[in-house]
Amino acid sequence: MTERIEFVQGNEACVEGALYAGLEFFAGYPITPSTEVAELLSERLPQRGGRFIQMEDEIASMCAIIGASLTGRKVMTATSGPGFSLKQEAIGYACMAEIPCVIVNVQRGGPSTGNPTHVSQGDVNQARWGTHGDHAVIALTASNHQDVFAMTVDAFNLAETYRTPVILLFDEVIGHMREKLVVPEKGEIAIVDRLRTSVGKDVDYHPYLPREDGRLPMSDFGGDHRYNVTGLFHDMWGFPSNDPRVVRDLLHHLVDKIETNVGAISRYREHHLEGADYVMISYGSSARSAIHMAEHRRERGERIGVLELQSLWPFPEELVRGKCRGAKGVIVVEMNMGQVMRQVRACVDAPEKVFLANRIDGKLITPADIKAVLRVIQGKGV
């Protein structure tokens, strides 16, 4: 089998990545601009023995993938805007019960029904804190279709590795734009499969007792072992507990398993960063404009580069601090009111040198928009 070259929308690249990663179950409720993900999977998934269910709403979709994951399947749902809000409670359940799942959010303008057919990156903080209570989560993003594919595969791998929901934060421009995608051959990208317990049938199985390496082997629900799953704080049997030690230890575990692995989870690209006086930090479709500008400025000898973030949560603080050290200015390029900019300011040595180049009117930010901000920073006026 040779690699396949396609000319597709970003949403289709996501579907290809999910199938490559071994997606077996999808439940969803179509919503612009994510609809093509569900549409394509309704055709592709049954063709290879998987299950596609269009549910009655986004809440049910999220709950359905959680149940299916517990039975041992690789699962995904896709949504946007208000649909992502509706899923939040069940995302918290998946965090607490440590159930691997992938949630695609193709961002559109919000709040509420907002600007359904236009681009935004306004859900960055919702991906982090949308569900209540202390928790940790993984969120990945991409600026081009090859990376949409790769990040989707990664999302499944990370969900299995850390037993956690992983959010794919795409945006309308990436979802709908068409460009080249090379679908890799089978085996070219490593796939992480479900870690299943070696405990035999009718032998006591502790669903929440970590191995020495901290990982929790799973048992397909409804199979060899009977165990409890709950959104309440729970002991190693999965039964509810409000014992202060159990509560504290579980919360530590839920947060630490992700926050102490930032280095392993972080994904990013560098564009002309070496010796850059000005560092742009961007992600998703915004990064395309930042890279476009950096390419042209470098041709003219200007020292300006881009740190493109592909993982937004856990936020790669050490990476960002290091890349921004010594820069005359840092420009965060995004399509919201500064959600990543605030993260950058919180972790760099010189927060007063961090500026925002944004656009919030539903249009893709342009290289000209960024140039205007750079001029002001450089004292050249508008």
Binding site: F7, T32, H176, M177, R178, E179, K180, E295, T366
Partner: protein, 189 residues
């Protein structure tokens, strides 16, 4: 490196978006180029105005929007009025003589062709109007080879319709190649 930016505008149902996708796909799949295709999303449907932006390049493409196209196509009077001013100076502005009356002077090579009327006269089916348009574009500027476009069309239309599409493409190629040229084509980029 060869780099072409196009904006195709018209009315929903004319096949503008489909034509844009076919052209860009031909460049990527059959000519080893890079291409991006974006379109205006919204309440546009049959009868509403549509716009597709395409960049075809031998180099990587980052920003996918087109603000000053090398080639602009306007298939309705409304689209012509709204978009004719964005043409890159010296670029090509292609319109259809049935739908557009040229009104203003722009710094471009304005080419007016009877694409729709010729399709109706020789084939009688408006559904291949957009393929005739693609032929005309390729007759004017060899963005990709016509064979590459036909390869893409074969994957998108039922076998019985391939010949009709091929004819429409050929009609466009002839109309485009035999146009009355005002001036030479602009340089790449």
């Amino acid at each position: 490196m060869k780099h072409t930016s196009l904006v195709l505008t018209g009315s929903g149902g004319q096949g503008v978006i489909t034509a844009a996708i076919i052209l860009a796909e031909a460049a990527v799949i059959h000519e080893g180029m890079n291409a991006t295709q974006t379109q205006s999303y919204g309440a546009a449907a049959r009868g509403g105005s549509t716009r597709a932006d395409i960049i075809i390049s031998g180099s990587p493409i980052f920003f996918p929007g087109v603000s000053q196209p090398n080639i602009l196509v306007c298939l309705t009077q409304e689209a012509y009025t709204e978009f004719s001013s964005i043409i890159r100076p010296g670029g090509i502005l292609l319109t259809d003589s049935r739908f557009v009356t040229l009104a203003k002077k722009v710094d471009a090579n304005q080419i007016q062709l009877p694409l729709y009327d010729t399709v109706m006269e020789k084939i009688g089916k408006p559904i291949v109007f957009n393929i005739c348009l693609l032929g005309a574009l390729l007759g004017i500027n060899a963005i990709v080879r016509p064979e590459s476009v036909m390869e893409v069309i074969k994957t998108r239309v039922p076998a019985d319709f391939v010949a009709m599409n091929n004819r429409a493409l050929d009609i466009g190629l002839v109309l485009g190649a035999n146009r009355e040229t005002g001036r030479s084509l602009p340089a790449d980029g």
